[in-house]
Symmetry: C2
Subunit: 467 residues, 2 copies
């Protein structure tokens, strides 16, 4: 019996798509940079069915490309164009299996949409803090496989830090039950760490037990203006001392980012009369309540203003005010799209290295390409910048397109020279698979390959990604 008939018999004919129109949504990535082909798209509804699919693929050495919400930014869930792979979508595995309030954990299947998990936690007055732009459509399986970051990493860490247990179908189809809800477990190698962030190249994550937190009583933001990134780095330390773990976001935006918003989103209220060189969104999550958070922000940022550490400040008066401030920050990517595109870099550095990196890389790029405009924004508290290169005038867009590879190279070389990472939160996928070889030591690459060979000796799990 051929593989497709076999799979249809095993998990149901309607779960094995082969018609072009049915398969199409699974074969192109969200940003439409990658399109592949596949022998079939399968939609198993349980871990046992995933095991069935992978066992059969392993037997015939057929590649398996796991896919969640298909919102990834690096082509990590799109098959190649050989047409030989099976795309394994986890969308039908979307059950919340358990929510343990006393243990503050939730156990979810890989196909759960992130927002569904946030909502389930909120219903019990708990918080699942992972939060990112795609939360309405990305799945937790994808978040785990890319070790997603987002806007709350400063306080709660990346997806890895939120994960206590995993259930994984290994490359030979066996099910590893590591679905524990324990905060301490030192009984050998922590295998789950291998699958988190592996972008589906070592196995298929089918379920996870995740940490929850008491929900804060209020979340309040402020915007502060300063002349330099050095001042923003100093402000981060100042606000951190004052707020400690209540500080849950510290998001910088360059003047070019705010000017772009003014042009493309004139409906959004700009915080300051004149656009300052740098603006930061500071968020406090407070267990005392709104008044306490507002008071703490006013005192801390007021003192900073008084000594000239910042130039201006606006503290939100309410949760609604705070959401409006977040809207500024969150509208930058859309504004960039409206402006005709840009060359994106998702980079991280030590916080202390960021001011010099931005100054020197801006200068280096401007010297070579006098028509560019860096749109720099992101999670300064995590050392993670979205250092995206746009154009000063729209008629330079074709040149930007043409110089994309050179711009990438200049930026990534600078990141590497400063000890940073060329993929802070998006992963490698297909997009950065070749680049990374330039920056990682051959020893590290070879050690990664040794792990890959140990866990996936026939190389069927998501080939052509990461390694």
């Amino acid at each position: 019996m051929d593989l497709i008939s076999d799979l249809r018999g095993a998990i149901g004919a309607e779960r094995v798509l082969t018609a072009a129109a049915d398969c199409a949504p699974y074969l192109t990535d969200w940003r439409r940079r990658y399109t592949g082909t596949a022998r079939a798209v399968v939609l198993p509804a349980s871990t046992a069915e995933v095991a069935t699919v992978v066992t059969r693929c392993a037997r015939e050495r057929v590649a398996v490309v796991p896919q969640g919400g298909n919102t990834g930014l690096v082509g990590g869930a799109t098959p190649d164009d050989s047409g030989t792979a099976i795309v394994l979508s986890t969308r039908r595995m979307s059950r919340i299996r358990a929510l343990d309030c006393a243990n503050q954990t939730i156990t979810v299947e890989a196909g759960c949409v992130l927002q569904q998990i946030q909502d389930a936690a909120r219903d019990r007055d708990l918080l699942f803090p992972l939060s990112l732009a795609a939360e309405g459509s990305c799945t937790i399986g994808g978040n785990l496989s890319t070790n997603a970051g987002g806007t709350q990493v400063l306080r709660y860490g990346n997806t890895r830090d939120l994960t206590l247990g995993l259930e994984v179908v290994l490359a030979d189809g066996q099910v590893w039950d590591g679905l524990r809800g324990l905060r301490k477990d030192n009984t050998g190698y922590d295998l789950k760490q291998l699958f988190i962030g592996a972008e589906g190249t070592l196995g298929v994550i089918c379920a996870a037990t995740l940490r929850l937190f008491p929900a804060p009583r209020a979340t309040i933001t402020a915007l502060a203006a300063a002349a330099s990134l050095e001042q923003m780095v100093a402000l981060l330390a100042r606000v951190g001392r004052a707020g400690g773990p209540a500080l849950t976001a510290f998001e910088v935006m360059s003047a070019s980012s705010l000017r772009l918003l003014a042009a493309e989103h004139p409906e959004l209220r700009q915080p300051f009369a004149a656009v300052p060189p740098w603006t930061v969104l500071v968020e406090l999550s407070d267990h005392d309540g709104e008044a306490h958070a507002i008071d703490l922000l006013e005192r801390t940022l007021g003192a900073a203003l008084e000594v000239g550490a910042i130039d201006d400040v606006a503290v939100a008066r309410s949760g609604a005010d705070s959401r409006a401030m977040w809207q500024l920050r969150e509208s930058i990517p859309e504004a960039q799209t409206r402006a005709g595109g840009n060359v994106k870099h998702d980079v991280s550095l030590t916080v202390s290295a960021i001011p010099a990196f931005v100054a020197s890389t801006d200068a280096r790029l401007r010297a070579e390409f006098d028509w560019i405009e860096p749109i720099t924004f992101g999670h300064l508290g995590d050392g993670n910048l979205h250092y995206n290169i746009g154009v000063a005038r729209r008629d330079a867009l074709p040149r930007l397109q043409a110089e994309q590879v050179r711009i990438n190279r200049i930026v990534h070389d600078a990141v590497h020279a400063a000890g940073g990472s060329i993929s802070a939160e998006h992963g490698l996928g297909q997009l950065k698979r070749d680049d990374i070889v330039r920056y990682k030591s051959s020893l590290e690459m070879e050690t990664m390959r040794a792990i890959k060979r140990a866990l996936d000796p026939f190389g069927i799990m998501n080939p052509g990604k990461v390694l």
Copy 2:
């Protein structure tokens, strides 16, 4: 040239100990349960020297047993009695290489004593939160290799969660430079996770870049009394809602623990007139200050008292008061030693499973051994209990000794049945190496062995431990 002469030539004769008296301190573990022999004890002073030692050992297939402060509790750093291994002590590698205040990171060598790192952070008004009983003599290399837990895990996580980068000498002597200070880096497999908690079986951790935090302005504790562990679990949720991340410890102590303290440490002030069934130490780390913390504890625990959720409460009036409360909790292990020993269990469960586990396991043990007395205490907030079995009367000590293996088996079987871990924070070492095979699936054991083979194909790294 033989290996010893070779090593002497390479790192200096005085760094290669072979005389019995010189080697003795490195050949017996801290609890004096394990004694081994070794061809030599070597004391390299740098990562390059560690690489030299491991390269030469690898060439001759000689086992390497890494050792830090030799304070481990499971015999993980003691060689076997074959006399063929080299003990590699990291004690001479105790330099703090860098402290980056803006990035809130510290880069340290493996032989740094934990307290040295805490002090270096404190000097810059920062906090390195890892804290445990052996902090005056354990080394960070050992903490990393055992993924040490301690008293602040509830808020800051285990050693793994505090680690951003590692420098490791691999089993063939190559140096992997993964010493990054990045909070986000999704560029392939997160190799450092493999070495953390591996107890030296995959390589020698030589240095680490660790996270620091803003130091809280005040740390204040309270003691609360309740009739049951169920009430304590409910209180944990209540205090968590009120304090959020300010809640940094939630440590329970059974009545038997406090009675033992009264007998063995009569100098310590008991908090309540009559010893309650359960007492909890609650700690808040507050960025507002002492008054805010005291007020929050009084309000939260006062409200709990009012509705009968707890039976009594004492809030510390100062940092000194708080330290006295901690002294109660921290004196329990010493009191147990004075009382003539006990059968220790370092177990973890989901927080929600703990009350039923303690009730049923107490009953099961008492039914079989009517002369025992469980001394139960530990980190309830992390689901981690030190479920130590002592005796009701001293004359039963020989029976306790004789029944140790059966008691272990009953407790660990119960932990496993409840989905828990038989080693929450101490690791496996030699002590639990055979036990773990009973509880981990053969698939998980085989996957661990596959990793071991991939990274240490000749099996020279700390053989006889973990796997």
